[in-house]
Subunit: 180 residues, 2 copies
């Protein structure tokens, strides 16, 4: 849950970060930045700010802004019917991103959000800098954390079905509730 | 046909344009910029400079730099097997782009390359500025021309199969020959 003011402040802060990263966005896109607190009501700790450039049945391009040390919770994109699930290529535009995937645990720079050990199960850390990219296979658990400066990331993918994503944290609700 | 020097010069010129547009690219990507003269040997007039960020069986992201008034020749992305053909969303990052599609002829700002009337058959003009984007359906003829300042464009798409694209100009060869 976010207040309307918190939502608006997060939108403007994310818009500044995105513009500073060199990405050209329109005023209309700023007003449509999605601020996701994943129902956890502590946006600065776990959350994400997202612009969807476009989203069709076949392709989508998004920009994700993460505030300093903000964590985008562990999730995966499951198969849906004949679709094997969302394939996603993330490309860092600004800042440092710690990406976590299944594999040998080597978590060194990132920090598991307090009290959430059970909700962050994959801990193979990949440190990503601007211009670096990686393609995430469908149905693969992953989470992101921004470094101290925050981060701006592109997410290029097949069809987006956010509401069908799986999350390791049972408290997560994908839709953010905004109250006056 | 391009000389190795012409190819290299075009790469560096495109890299400058792309960097000036705000897009972050790596040194490795600069060295892999594809300079396409479409076998016509007059790059400045008809051609394109392209960075492929990545290209999988499902998704691809490219950056296209067009020199001032350079034209990317009329083409389409045909069906291949069970794939209806490439769906492509273009988003302008820098400069003005004249995009041409099937529909009512209203060509006003662009110029058909000299002597190529028969090779540019779709003439419904859409003037695109930074931040504007459009999704091109598969198998739809289209061509682009940059304005006087040149242009930088994102191309987000389904699977890329450049060598299977159709071109209206029978003289076009998709692979650029580079000679010493």
């Amino acid at each position: 849950m976010l207040t309307r003011q918190e939502f608006k402040d997060a939108q403007l802060r994310a818009a500044e970060m995105i513009k500073n990263s060199g990405i050209k966005i329109t005023e209309a896109e700023i007003g449509k930045i999605d601020v996701a607190d994943f129902g956890l009501s502590h946006l600065e700790k776990e959350g994400a700010q997202i612009i969807t450039f476009f989203s069709t049945d076949r392709v989508s391009a998004k920009v994700i802004a993460l505030f300093p040390n903000q964590t985008l919770p562990e999730h995966w994109h499951p198969p849906v019917g004949s679709d094997p699930g969302k394939e996603e290529t993330v490309r860092v535009v600004d800042g440092t991103v710690y990406l976590y995937l299944p594999g040998k645990e080597n978590l060194r720079y990132g920090v598991i959000p307090e009290g959430k050990d059970a909700c962050y199960t994959v801990r193979h850390e990949i440190v990503m800098k601007p211009g670096e990219q990686i393609t995430l296979q469908p149905n693969t658990k992953h989470w992101f954390q921004a470094g101290n400066e925050g981060a701006v990331i592109y997410s290029f993918s097949t069809c987006v079905r956010d509401m069908l994503d799986g999350f390791s944290d049972p408290e997560i609700v994908r839709e953010t509730k905004v109250v006056d």
